[in-house]
Amino acid sequence: MAIDPQPDLRINPLRKYVREDRMPHFFCPGCGCGQVLSSFLRGVDALGLDIDRMTAVAGVGCTARIPVYIKMDTLHGVHGRTLAWATGIRLHSPETKVVVFAGDGDAVSIGGNHFIHAARRNLDVLMIVVNNFNFAMTGGQVAPMTPAGSVTMTTPYGSGEPPFDLCALAVAAGATYVARTATPHIARMDQAIKKGLEHSGFGVVEVLSQCPTHFGRYALGSGSPEKLLDWIDGICVPKNRADSMTPEELEGKLVTGEFVHRSRPVFRGSTFIDESTFINESDVAEDNAAGKGECRS
């Protein structure tokens, strides 16, 4: 994208990235998705990334609508398969930078298997998971990160399900950049997303975000975005402080900060390409004919 030599300072500089013809957007008043959208664009702009060479991948959900408002190639609309698409794009087209936008349900409920395998492989994509603690677009049902005991549309007597720690899952499965941040902490969110955009390998940024319409009203008894931001702020504990706290003190809290930032070769496909393992076609037939092929189920 060409840089305007004489920018009109009365216009938000990020507007050049936005599809104005799609406005007004579909997010509820007070939703955190708009904050994440802005934070992502600030990261792209600050790093001078060429958004024309990037592709956004989004499944289904409120979060999945974020890239629909950005002038950027986007895949959208199959629930849970964001990382599968991203894998195909990255492997075929390593010059295309891929960013996944997924809600908590998309990422680790229906998409959970893809999530752990993308981490294991160190797939070279950044995944921004907007965790609003429930399935919001469908009306506020319980989700993998809904706090235990919460009332939702499908847990009217309180949730009997313990939640995931998405970041711990990502670290354990092999992700190479993992951070948790939250919408009340704009500067730290910007920093985490920016760092994720710079990272090479599988990066996961979990953003704790408010859903006033559903989670707020049902689980927390308030549809006020401000109150929800206060609630999120109240459950966040920065990692350096959490390190000296007991498990009892951390009960009901979520640790924010960076959990891992490491380097590992990125995924280039399942086949190891190495001259010494290079086998010709007759061996393929032979392998199959000589015992292997006749004895397989």
Partner: protein, 199 residues
């Protein structure tokens, strides 16, 4: 030539399917014939019943299986017991004489060849090539192809480091067939299976 149906049978790991593949490869590539090879096997990684059917013709093969085979090769007693019923009564039977002891169910009009395939393979240093001893013997009896044609097919289908051993095994089997008075018992014309298949 009339379309001929050959069934190789034994247990998993004996190289039953490889026998059919090498034979089919030689007939298609070296002799320019048509062949269709099908197979079935149990879910066990090793062991279990294993069979492969090879149809051969000088014109394209339509239905790739037959209710009755013209030739049956059985490398193990249970394989013979399973498939003797689908061999034409006037067909040709090859068995590994060391692993098939009971020929009680073989009809009297069936041409039978008892081949010490595994025994010969052990003498060559590896019992895994019993299938190739049998294939060499088979080639000698049926005259469907010569040793050079089998060698060429082997080179396509067997890893290079095992190629010499497999070639030796084929030759040993072929030699046995030339000396069938002492090494096998034959009670009928040996070529009727290969040349006289019925529809």
């Amino acid at each position: 030539m009339r379309t001929t149906s050959i069934r190789f049978s034994g247990f998993g790991g004996q190289g039953i399917i490889l026998s059919a593949v090498v034979l089919g490869d030689a007939l298609v590539i070296q002799r320019g014939l048509y062949a269709a090879q099908t197979q079935s096997y149990g879910s066990e990684a090793r062991g279990g019943q294993c069979q492969s059917e090879l149809m051969v013709s000088d014109k394209p093969i339509l239905t790739p299986i037959r209710a009755f085979n013209d030739i049956l090769v059985s490398m193990f007693q249970t394989a013979l017991d399973s498939y003797i019923g689908s061999l034409r009564r006037d067909g040709t039977l090859f068995v590994d004489s060391g692993l098939v002891g009971d020929l009680g169910r073989v009809p009297p009009e069936t041409a039978r060849h008892e081949v010490p395939a595994t025994e010969t393979a052990i003498a060559l240093g590896n019992k895994m090539v019993a299938n190739m001893v049998m294939l060499g013997y088979f080639a000698g009896v049926t005259e469907m192809l010569n040793l050079e044609q089998l060698d060429a097919a082997l080179a396509e289908n067997v890893r290079e480091r095992f190629l010499d051993l497999n070639k030796k095994a084929i030759r040993a089997g072929f030699d046995l067939s030339r000396d069938s008075e002492t090494n096998s018992r034959t009670n009928a014309g040996t070529n009727n299976g290969a040349n006289g298949g019925r529809r």
